[in-house]
């Protein structure tokens, strides 16, 4: 387009273009391009009479823009980005530190748990040992007392048995003396009866 317009500007001569509705867009455009220069007869962007003013105002506005960018806006955006970057880095550090603390706490907890378990086991073992030995002592004491009772009982039984056996002798003597009295009507001495009983008991 640029080439077309420039070409049209340099080649079309005055009056060569007729502004005809049927002339077509290119002709219309170039024709206008030729006439559009408001008096100077130049395609407006190539009108050198405006160059000085445009350069001056471009220098003023772009210079000011450059100053504002480099002194105000860019340091501000840069500081915003840097602050954000720092904040993120700090937060990440905090998170890492918190994680390390949590890990340490977990490790300490597990350590404590292990020692507590060991202590518990030890207490249980000693308790078991104590209970065992106490049970054993109890059993032996019970056993001895039972044995004592048994032997006492046995002694009493033997005693009673002996007594009974002795009684058996005296009963037999009495019976024998009574039987003898009934049968023979005479009195027999106790000594005779006792010897007789003893002899029959043999």
């Amino acid at each position: 387009m640029f080439v077309t317009a420039a070409y049209a500007q340099s080649t079309t001569t005055e009056g060569a273009e007729t502004h005809d509705a049927a002339a077509g867009e290119v002709h219309t455009e170039t024709g206008v391009a030729h006439e559009g220069g408001h008096g100077s007869g130049v395609f407006p962007p190539f009108d050198s009479s405006t160059f000085a003013s445009q350069l001056l105002w471009l220098a003023i506005s772009f210079g000011l823009f450059y100053l504002l960018m480099s002194k105000v806006v860019m340091p501000r955006i840069g500081s915003i980005l840097e602050t954000r970057h720092d904040t993120i880095a700090r937060d990440l550090d905090d998170a890492a530190r918190s994680k390390a603390e949590a890990d340490a706490a977990v490790a300490a907890y597990e350590q404590e748990l292990a020692t507590a378990k060991a202590k518990g086991n030890a207490i249980a073992a000693t308790a078991r040992e104590a209970a065992k030995s106490k049970a054993a002592a109890d059993r032996t004491s019970v056993e001895t007392s039972l044995n004592d009772k048994i032997s006492a009982a046995e002694a009493r039984i033997a005693d009673i048995k002996a007594k009974a056996l002795a009684d058996v002798g005296s009963i037999a003597e009495e019976t024998a003396s009574a039987v003898v009295e009934q049968l023979i009507g005479g009195k027999v001495t106790k000594a005779e009866i006792a010897s007789a009983v003893k002899a029959s008991a043999k």
Partner: protein, 253 residues
């Protein structure tokens, strides 16, 4: 379609608002001057007020400002390395200024300052001038290495050097004409198609039916022009970064 009714070039005419003349030279405050100042004010105002809260978590508008900052920063770092970052204010200002000027130019009845060859040429000269001044200041005559690509056989050297010099000299022209021509052509095309809509509309029912096509074209072109307005600002900034790279690392091809 008569010239007085739809004039696609009229939008580029510079009108005096406040005539000023110093030493016989015309420094009038014109509509072009008005929109240069407006561009400066709009761009500065936007960047200034969207960042005034300095939020740690940015809002939408603050994000726009921060994104453009980081966009240009990464562009310059990729283009000219970390040594090139001293030109960050310059590239950022150029990009924001051109982008804002292009976007303001998209508003109907607004003047497009980047459609003036003298404006784009001045900006291009500013870039190339910076490259030359900084290059010679920093590297002295070593800056001339920029014209001597490494690894070229001695017999080809005169040819290659002359080509490099020509390409260097054509940089301000290509840089300025690219932006100027894109903005100019886009605005003329828009105006021409929009003019078809108006002129066909006067031709009765058939004309109104026929005007639909250029209307669709106008809408589509408007979208395209917004893309071009951004793209040209971007291209200008990218090329500026590339040229600055020559000043920072001459002979570092």
């Amino acid at each position: 379609m008569a010239g007085d009714k739809v004039d696609p070039v009229h939008q580029f005419v510079v009108n005096k608002i406040v005539p000023i003349e110093i030493g016989g030279i015309d420094f009038s405050f014109t509509n072009a001057s008005l929109f240069m100042v407006a561009t400066m004010a709009v761009a500065t105002g936007f960047l200034y007020f969207t960042t005034s809260t300095r939020s740690l978590v940015p809002g939408r508008m603050q994000s726009v400002s921060e994104l453009s900052y980081e966009f240009i920063a990464s562009m310059l770092r990729e283009g000219a390395g970390s040594h090139g970052m001293k030109f960050f204010p310059m590239v950022f200002s150029l990009f924001m200024f051109i982008l804002t000027a292009n976007m303001l130019g998209m508003v109907p009845y607004f003047f497009t300052i980047t459609s003036q060859i003298i404006v784009t040429f001045a900006l291009a000269i500013f870039v190339i001038g910076t490259v030359l001044v900084y290059g010679f200041y920093k590297h002295g005559l070593g800056f001339l290495n920029v014209f001597v690509p490494a690894g070229v056989p001695g017999i080809l050297l005169p040819l290659v050097i002359s080509i490099e010099i020509i390409s260097f000299l054509s940089r301000p022209i290509s840089l300025s004409v690219r932006l100027f021509a894109n903005m100019l052509a886009g605005h003329i095309t828009l105006k021409v198609f929009a003019g078809f809509v108006a002129s066909l509309g006067t031709l009765g029912a058939l004309g109104i039916g026929g005007a639909v096509l250029p209307l669709i074209m106008t809408v589509a072109l408007t979208g395209l022009e917004f893309l071009v307005a951004f793209l040209q600002a971007y291209v200008f900034a990218v090329l500026t970064c590339m040229y600055l790279n020559d000043a920072v690392h001459p002979g570092g091809h």
